[in-house]
C-alpha cells in the first residue's frame, strides 16, 4: 500500500491552505490575465485618484479661505461703535449710527476682562505723507504696540513696531507699508528717515512686510502711527475699532460677553457697541467649504462604486474563464471555502493595487495643482484619503463576494466538463 495511513481524515483538524499560498496563487491568477487585471486596477485607481484630487481641491479652497481669515489675527473679537440691529457685519451702517464713541479709555478698560489676552485700539483715516518733495495720500491707522501681535504683522529686517507702553500712544514715529516705502522712498533706505504727515514730523522706524494678498486692510499701503497721534491728526478722540484677542479659541465667547459687559457698564448701561467674532464668520465659511469638499468627495466616490461593479464583472468573467480550473481544484481536494478565499484574495489584490496606485496618482495630481497654483494649498484631507482607500477595498471585496461564491458553489463535474 502506498497510502500507509488508513485513518479517515478529519476535515476539522486538517491543515488548510496557508495565507501566503493563497496570496501567491491569487497573484499568478491576476498576472495570468494581464488585460483584465489592468482594467480593474485602472478603474480602481481612477476612482481613488478622483477622490484624492477633488477633495484636495475642495479642502485647498477651505484652507485658502481659513488662511486668509487667520491672517487677520487669531481668536479675534472685534468691537465696533454703534449697535447693529442685525448683528451682521456692516461697517458703513455701524459707523454712521454711533450714539456714543469708543475711546482709548474704553479699550484700556477691556484689558481687565479675564478672557482677553491683549487688544489694540484702532482709529483709521486718510492723510498725506510727504518726503523729499514727494506727496502721497495714505490710509493712516492709529494704534498701539499690540496691533502687531493681534494682527500678525510681519516686519522687514531692521524694523521696529510702535514702542510699548505710554510712548506707543504718542511717540512721533511711523511704521509704513511696503508699497508706500517703494513709492515714497524709492531706493533710499526708509528706516530712520523723517517724514511729514499732515502737520507732524515723524520718524520712520519700521516697514511692514509686503503681504500682497489679504482680506480687510491691505497693509502694503498702510501707515501705522501711535493712536493718540492719529487722533490728534484727525482731531477726534474716537476709535474705529477695538481689536481684542481672546486667550484661546474656547474663550472667544467669554471674551465677547465680558467685553460687552464692561462697555455697557462704562456707557451708562446702554449696549451701544457691536461685538463680532471672526470665528463666527470663519466657522460659516469653514462649514460651507467643508460640506462642499465632502460633497465633491462623495460624488467622486461614486466612481469607486462604478469601479467596484467593474471588479465584480471582471471577477465574474474570471470565474467563467476558469471554470475548468475550479472543477480541477475541487477534484484535488479544495473545499468551498478555499475556492472562495482564492477569488476574494485575487479581488483584494486588484483593489489594493488599484487603490494604492490611485492614491499615488491623486497625490501626484494634487502636487501638480500646488505647483501650478502655489497660493492654493491643495492637500487631500486625511479623512478623504482614508475614506477613498477603505471604500475602494470595501467595494472591491464586497462586489467580489458574489463571483467568489459562484465559484465556490460550482458543481465540480459540470465545471470539469467545461474545458
Amino acid at each position: 500500500m502506498p497510502a500507509g495511513e488508513q485513518v479517515t481524515p478529519d476535515p476539522e483538524r486538517m491543515p488548510v491552505m496557508s495565507g501566503a499560498d493563497i496570496l501567491r496563487f491569487a497573484r499568478t491568477a491576476a498576472l495570468g490575465y494581464p488585460l483584465r487585471t489592468a482594467l480593474s486596477v485602472l478603474a480602481m485607481a481612477i476612482g481613488v485618484a478622483a477622490v484624492v484630487v477633488l477633495t484636495a481641491l475642495g479642502d485647498g479652497a477651505r484652507r485658502y479661505v481659513v488662511g486668509q481669515f487667520s491672517a487677520l489675527g487669531s481668536n479675534l473679537v472685534i468691537v465696533l461703535p454703534g449697535r447693529s440691529a442685525t448683528g451682521g457685519f456692516n461697517p458703513v451702517n455701524v459707523v454712521t449710527s454711533t450714539p456714543r464713541d469708543l475711546t482709548v479709555e474704553d479699550a484700556q478698560a477691556l484689558l481687565a476682562a479675564p478672557a482677553v489676552r491683549q487688544l489694540a485700539p484702532l482709529t483709521v483715516g486718510t492723510s498725506e505723507i510727504s518726503f523729499g518733495g514727494r506727496l502721497r495720500e495714505v490710509v493712516l491707522a492709529g494704534s498701539t504696540a499690540s496691533l502687531k501681535d493681534v494682527r500678525h504683522y510681519q516686519l522687514e529686517p531692521g524694523s521696529h513696531f510702535l514702542p510699548e507702553g505710554e510712548a506707543g500712544r504718542v511717540a512721533p514715529v511711523a511704521v509704513v507699508g511696503a508699497k508706500i516705502r517703494d513709492e515714497v522712498f524709492g531706493t533710499q533706505p526708509a528706516i530712520g528717515q523723517l517724514i511729514r504727515l499732515g502737520d507732524r514730523r515723524l520718524r520712520v522706524i519700521g516697514i511692514l512686510k509686503a503681504s500682497g494678498q489679504g482680506m480687510g486692510m491691505n497693509t502694503d499701503e498702510l501707515v501705522v502711527v501711535p493712536v493718540a497721534l492719529a487722533q490728534s491728526l484727525f482731531n477726534s478722540n474716537t476709535l474705529f475699532r477695538i481689536l481684542v484677542e481672546a486667550r484661546s479659541r474656547g474663550q472667544i465667547e467669554a471674551a465677547k460677553a465680558q467685553v460687552l459687559d464692561i462697555l455697557k457698564a462704562r456707557h451708562g448701561g446702554e449696549e451701544d457697541v457691536t461685538v463680532i467674532t471672526q470665528d463666527a464668520v470663519l466657522a460659516t465659511f469653514d462649514r460651507l467649504l467643508g460640506a462642499l469638499t465632502a460633497a465633491v468627495g462623495g460624488i467622486a466616490a461614486i466612481s469607486l462604486l462604478v469601479a467596484g461593479i467593474l471588479v465584480m464583472n471582471v471577477m465574474l468573467v474570471a470565474v467563467a474563464q476558469r471554470t475548468g480550473e475550479i472543477g480541477l481544484l475541487k477534484a484535488l481536494g479544495a473545499r468551498e471555502a478555499d475556492i472562495r478565499q482564492l477569488f476574494l484574495a485575487e479581488a483584494a489584490m486588484l483593489s489594493l493595487f488599484g487603490a494604492a496606485s490611485g492614491y499615488l496618482l491623486g497625490e501626484a495630481g494634487a502636487f501638480a495643482l500646488r505647483s501650478f497654483f502655489p497660493v492654493f494649498p491643495a492637500y487631500p484631507p486625511g479623512w478623504a484619503v482614508a475614506a477613498a482607500l477603505i471604500t475602494a477595498l470595501a467595494t472591491g471585496l464586497g462586489f467580489s463576494l458574489l463571483p467568489a461564491q459562484r465559484a465556490a458553489r460550482l458543481d465540480p463535474v459540470q465545471a470539469l466538463m467545461r474545458h
Binding site: M1, P2, A3, G4, Q6, T8, P9, D10, P11, M14, P15, V16, M17, S18, D21, F25, T28, A29, L31, G32, G324, E325, G327, L328, L329, K330, A331, L332, G333, A334, R335, E336, A337, D338, P412, V413, L416, H419
Partner: protein, 226 residues
C-alpha cells in the same frame, strides 16, 4: 479487503421531460490494489461512475463505502478531505493550470492540503525525478508534449499518495505510442499498490487489466476477472 463497495447506486439526469439513467443500480466491490478497466459505448455511464467513485457526484440512491466508511453521507468538507487524501484523478484533457509550471501544477494538491513549502518542494522534486520530468519542471503546459502533460497530471494525481487512482480515458488525447507509455506508468503505480480504475474505449488497453468491466446503459454488463 474491500476498498470500494457500491450497492444499488443510481444516478439519473433530467433533460426536459426525458430522464437518462446514467447509473441504474450498480453493485460493485473492488479490493485494494486491484487494476480494473471499464469499457462501454459512449454514454453508457462510465464517467458518471468514476465521478461517483471520486466523490465529485452524489448518487441519487444506493450506498458507497470507501475504506469501510459510508462516504455518501459525509459533509461537503469531509468529502473534499477524502478527495484530497485518498483519491487521485487523471483526465482525458489533462486539466493542467495553464499559467502554472509543471512543478507548480504537481504541487497543487499539496498546496491545498496545507503542506509546508519545504516538504512540498522535496515531494515535488521526488515526483519530477520519478516521472522523468526534471528537465521540464519550469515549463508551462503549452511548452510540453501531450505525453509530458499527462505525466505531469499523473504526478499531480499521486503526489498525495492516494489509495485510489481514477483515470477517465487518459490516453484519449494521445497517439498510440504515447498512450501506451502513459498506461505503463499507471500500471507501474498499480504495481506499487495503488488501486487503479481505468476507463477506456480501447479494448486492447482494457485487456491489460486483470479485471475488466463492461458497461451498458448505466449497468454493469459483464465483470471478468482473469
Amino acid at each position: 479487503m474491500a476498498l470500494i463497495e457500491l450497492s444499488g447506486i443510481e444516478r439519473a439526469f433530467h433533460l426536459g421531460d426525458s430522464v437518462v439513467h446514467a447509473l441504474a443500480g450498480i453493485d460493485l466491490v473492488i479490493k485494494a490494489g486491484e487494476y480494473v478497466s471499464i469499457v462501454g459505448a459512449s454514454g453508457s455511464g462510465k464517467s458518471t461512475l468514476l465521478n461517483v467513485l471520486g466523490l465529485l457526484d452524489r448518487p441519487a440512491a444506493g450506498s458507497y463505502h470507501l475504506e469501510d466508511r459510508d462516504v455518501t453521507t459525509l459533509s461537503a468538507n469531509e468529502q473534499a478531505a477524502v478527495r484530497s487524501r485518498r483519491i487521485g484523478f487523471v483526465f482525458q484533457s489533462f486539466h493542467l493550470v495553464p499559467r502554472l509550471t509543471a512543478a507548480e501544477n504537481i504541487a497543487l494538491p499539496l498546496l491545498l492540503a496545507g503542506i509546508a513549502p519545504a516538504e512540498r518542494e522535496a515531494r515535488v522534486g521526488r515526483a519530477l525525478r520519478e516521472f522523468g520530468l526534471e528537465q521540464r519542471a519550469r515549463h508551462r503546459p503549452d511548452e510540453l508534449s501531450g505525453g509530458q502533460r499527462q505525466r505531469v497530471a499523473i504526478a499531480r494525481a499521486t503526489i498525495m499518495q492516494p489509495a485510489l487512482l481514477l483515470a477517465d480515458e487518459p490516453t484519449g488525447n494521445l497517439d498510440r505510442a504515447t498512450g501506451e507509455e502513459v498506461i505503463r506508468l499507471l500500471e507501474a503505480l498499480n504495481a506499487g499498490g495503488v488501486t487503479l480504475i481505468l476507463v477506456t474505449h480501447d479494448p486492447a488497453l482494457a485487456a491489460h487489466a486483470q479485471r475488466q468491466l463492461v458497461m451498458e446503459d448505466g449497468r454493469l454488463k459483464s465483470d471478468t476477472d482473469r
